[in-house]
């Protein structure tokens, strides 16, 4: 197969994973990459993250404690009740940080970099966040436990799981949307909210250039009414909130009986729409290859998608088997989180190193730099997720803050910094250029040398 001629182990890790690692064995072929992806999810096993049930239990507990606190207002027990609320909030934040650590370990210590990148890609495509303290920690299980197993399956199933997920119903206000002619509309004084329906059409499926109009947004919003969730993390369908009758989306009628089935049918049709194929193919090509991906590559992905009933594995296969996937020039600029992640991977940071840092260290080395770099952990600005274009990340302040991190963080992350020249080979393999080799050897200190390797254009692209 021609693609095997252009496959490169280093590119497999750098372009399609989180970078080279001195510890894990890089894929040796496209077939190897695909075999890892279709095999058992070893990273998830090694660094477990619970599902939404565990997250929901914490949320329900918070709600219970807040109620107890309110009941004690002005009474003797108020102080103790407040202390209990605060203690539990602290516990929730610690849980969230621990899960963030597990996500990082999946990426920096795992062998299946392509799977991790795909999980991150789809998690971003279906961005959803908890908008209050009780739900903030849901984002990790949502992506890493609930969506994760679906990223190698059919897009239609992934779409359905994401759109009907309690966190999405919360994030895009679906749980507050009520059919204007439903029984609940009168009782609760609530009505339709377009937010989720619009983003499903614009961001999740057809794309903003897709063939939909305002009327389709309204109709899809009406179709979605009834979807809701409980704070324990369970999705519900409340028929008394659903708009009665059928809805027509893109000329297709769904209903007339409200329920999950017509919603699933509409999402299935949206997933199969050619505009969706085009939108997803382009987005994948931009994410993995370049801001301006070659047209034949996009077409190849689009065709694979449409030929396989929205199955994603054949799309990944088409991507990895396309010669344009293996161009030797590193292009896309790594976003800040991926820059830091690949640095940890190259430095061989392990679980023990992370736990030694403690809360304060993690805040100084991850939370604050990511925030200054414009990529706060699990907090993108909107449902469109993080920007893909290089210009969003390659800015003078962005580069300066990367530099501060590259010079200051490694020495705190690991006991013994490696020799900068050999670290260059570890981190970049065949992509070490003469200029970098010279600089790594000429650096005044080991710390500066490591920093220079991490700041090199080769390390910041993929």
């Amino acid at each position: 197969m021609y693609s095997l001629l252009t496959f490169s182990t280093a590119l497999a890790e750098i372009r399609f994973g989180y970078g080279l690692s001195p510890r894990t064995a890089a894929p040796v072929s496209v077939a190897d990459m695909l075999a890892r992806l279709s095999g058992p999810d070893l990273n998830a096993r090694a660094f477990p993250i619970p599902d939404l049930k565990a997250a929901g239990a914490l949320s329900a507990e918070r709600r219970r404690l807040l109620r107890a606190q309110k009941a004690q207002a002005g009474q003797a027990g108020y102080e103790a009740a407040t202390a209990a609320v605060n203690a539990q909030l602290k516990q929730m934040n610690q849980t969230r940080r621990r899960w963030a650590g597990q996500v990082m370990l999946r990426r920096i210590a795992g062998q299946d970099g392509f799977r991790e990148r795909l999980v991150a890609f789809w998690g971003d495509h279906f961005t959803a966040l908890g908008k209050n303290q009780a739900l903030r920690h849901w984002a990790t299980p949502y992506v890493q436990t609930d969506l994760r197993p679906l990223v190698t399956g059919r897009f239609a199933d992934l779409l359905t799981a994401a759109v009907m997920h309690p966190l999405m119903l919360h994030y895009l206000d679906q749980s507050r949307s009520v059919g204007p002619d439903s029984p609940a509309a009168q009782q609760l004084g609530l009505g339709l909210n377009e937010n989720l329906a619009r983003e499903v059409l614009e961001l999740h499926t057809l794309g903003v250039d897709g063939p939909y109009a305002q009327q389709d947004v309204r109709q899809l919003a009406a179709l979605f009414t009834g979807l809701g969730f409980r704070v324990k993390g369970r999705r519900v369908f409340q028929p008394n909130r659903a708009q009665p009758g059928a809805e027509v989306v893109l000329g297709q009628s769904y209903g007339p009986e409200p329920g999950l089935a017509p919603i699933r049918a509409a999402l299935e049709d949206l997933a199969r729409h050619p505009a969706t194929a085009r939108h997803l193919a382009r987005k994948l090509a931009v994410h993995f290859i370049s801001d301006t991906p070659p047209e034949p590559l996009i077409t190849a992905l689009e065709t694979a998608y449409l030929d396989h009933d929205t199955a994603l594995f054949p799309v990944y296969e088409a991507l990895l088997q396309h010669p344009d996937a293996w161009g030797a020039q590193l292009r896309n600029v790594k976003p800040p989180l991926d820059f830091i992640t690949s640095a940890l991977r190259a430095l061989d940071v392990g679980a023990a190193d992370l736990s030694r840092l403690g809360d304060k260290g993690l805040r100084q080395l991850f939370d604050l730099p990511l925030r200054a770099l414009g990529q706060t952990w699990e907090r993108p600005d909107g449902p469109d997720g993080w920007p893909e274009e290089d210009t969003a990340w390659l800015t003078p302040p962005g580069l300066a803050i990367r530099l501060r991190w590259a010079m200051a963080a490694p020495v705190r992350l690991i006991d013994q910094l490696p020799d900068p020249s050999s670290f260059a080979d570890t981190a970049l393999g065949p992509f070490v250029e003469g200029r970098l080799r010279f600089a790594a050897a000429a650096a005044e200190t080991r710390k500066d040398g490591i920093g220079l390797v991490l700041m090199s254009p080769a390390f910041n692209r993929r």
Binding site: G191, N193, E202, D384, G398
Partner: protein
């Protein structure tokens, strides 16, 4: 130092714009000098991302149809008098109360019922792209209108305009500085030289680094360096290191010097649900941003400043089913600063009867928000109407001068 500002500027010429004035008019291809800035007025452009609900911020309570459209959002404030009378027709959202002194002194104004030419799809992301591109159609230009404006004025230098964060409105061929208060570099000269060497093979990284080095060298305000001793004593409360307030303070420091334009974003205006709380919080932030600019610019510079806050679209005239509003069309633009002829609401009011609404759902825009922006640009910088209508905002008819500046 191996590099100087001249080659960093020369490199930024590489980033080309598709529209705009001839670069020959700018000093980029001739020796650069760092004398006086090309004009004296200051402009701060704040992009309010997410779609600010102009109807809730500046409430047309004098319109007989308004109350029925907003029973859950504004009725309580109208009843309690929590919102603030502006001119007998419009009332201001209570969260903007801290700005009332500015309104009374003529330093706060509003242009109502305006929008970009964007219609119907109501996408945030397309809407913002069009707002920043300043064109008639989505995708018609890669550069932003503020950058094309810089291309039309002689004497623009690397620090005439500052982008704080990613601001497409300022991207393009004209030199623009992009900085963040947390970005000061601290490396030895030797390491800096090696770093420059490492970047040499990659023109984009090289140009970005050169800019970072020169900006970092100048970013000496001890207030912004948490590790420096001796915070400046005149501004007692410590400002946040992140977020819009930090950007406003940083912009003000720059605008006190040679910088003439600063642009940054205030996010979070997408109030589909629980709008009373969420919009109130955003407006409090915005008020603080404007007051921070005023305080830190000082009376003299504030007197020459126009702050322009604009958003990608307004929101539905009717509140939606969850105490919020959905994506709409016409909205409001906020103006502040001593250069503004404030104390009034500009714009022709279209009415809120169902037949007056755009698409029977949104406030009908009666003017192009680009026209207001164009008149402000014309007032603060040496620009011709022809350039504004052909190059900065291609295809725009600016119409009559609304007299937005004092």
């Amino acid at each position: 130092m191996v590099l100087n500002r001249r080659n960093f500027l020369a490199q930024s010429v590489l980033r080309s714009g598709v529209l705009g004035c001839s670069l020959a008019a700018s000093p980029l291809i001739t020796p650069v000098s760092f004398a006086a800035a090309p004009w004296d007025h200051r402009l701060v452009v704040i992009i309010l991302r997410g779609g600010m609900d102009g109807l809730d911020v500046v409430r047309p309570t004098g319109d007989p149809h308004f109350a029925a459209l907003r029973p859950g959002l504004t009725a309580a404030d109208v009843a309690s008098g929590a919102d603030l009378d502006l001119d007998g027709f419009y009332r201001l959202h209570p969260a903007l109360a801290p700005l009332m002194p500015l309104w009374r002194s003529g330093d706060l104004g509003v242009v109502h019922a305006v929008s970009t030419p964007y219609r119907d799809k109501r996408s945030h992301f397309e809407g913002q792209d069009l707002l920043e591109a300043g064109t008639l159609n989505v995708g018609a230009a890669q550069d932003g209108w503020l950058n094309r404006m810089l291309q039309c004025v002689p004497g623009v230098e690397g620090e005439t305009a500052f982008a704080l964060g990613q601001m497409k409105v300022l991207e393009g061929a004209a030199p623009v500085a992009n900085w963040h208060p947390k970005a000061n570099m601290r490396i030895s000269p030797q390491t800096e030289q090696l770093l420059v060497h490492v970047m040499e093979g990659d023109p984009l990284f090289e140009a970005t680094l050169n800019e970072a080095i020169s900006l970092s060298a100048e970013a000496t305000d001890p207030f912004f360096d948490p590790e420096a001793k001796g915070m400046s004593g005149d501004m007692s409360p410590r400002l946040p290191q992140y977020g819009p307030l930090a950007l406003a303070a940083y912009a003000a420091e720059r605008l006190r010097g040679d910088t003439r334009i600063a642009a940054f974003s205030v996010n979070g205006w997408d109030t589909h649900a629980r709008q009373r709380e969420r919009l109130g919080r955003r407006l409090s932030d915005l008020a603080e941003v404007i007051l921070t600019l005023q305080a830190r610019l000082g009376a003299e510079v504030w007197g020459k400043t126009a702050v322009v806050a604009m958003t990608e679209f307004g929101r539905t005239a009717r509140e939606n089913g969850s105490k919020g509003t959905d994506h709409g069309t016409g909205g409001a633009m906020l103006l502040a600063g001593g250069a503004v002829r404030g104390g009034r609401v500009f714009g022709a009011w279209p009415g809120l009867e169902e037949g007056d609404l755009y698409d029977r759902r949104d406030l009908l825009p009666t003017a192009d928000v680009r026209s207001a922006a164009a008149w402000i640009l014309r007032g603060i910088a040496p620009l011709t109407r022809a350039d504004l209508e052909a190059k900065v905002f291609p295809g725009l008819d600016m119409g009559e001068d609304p007299g937005l500046l004092s």
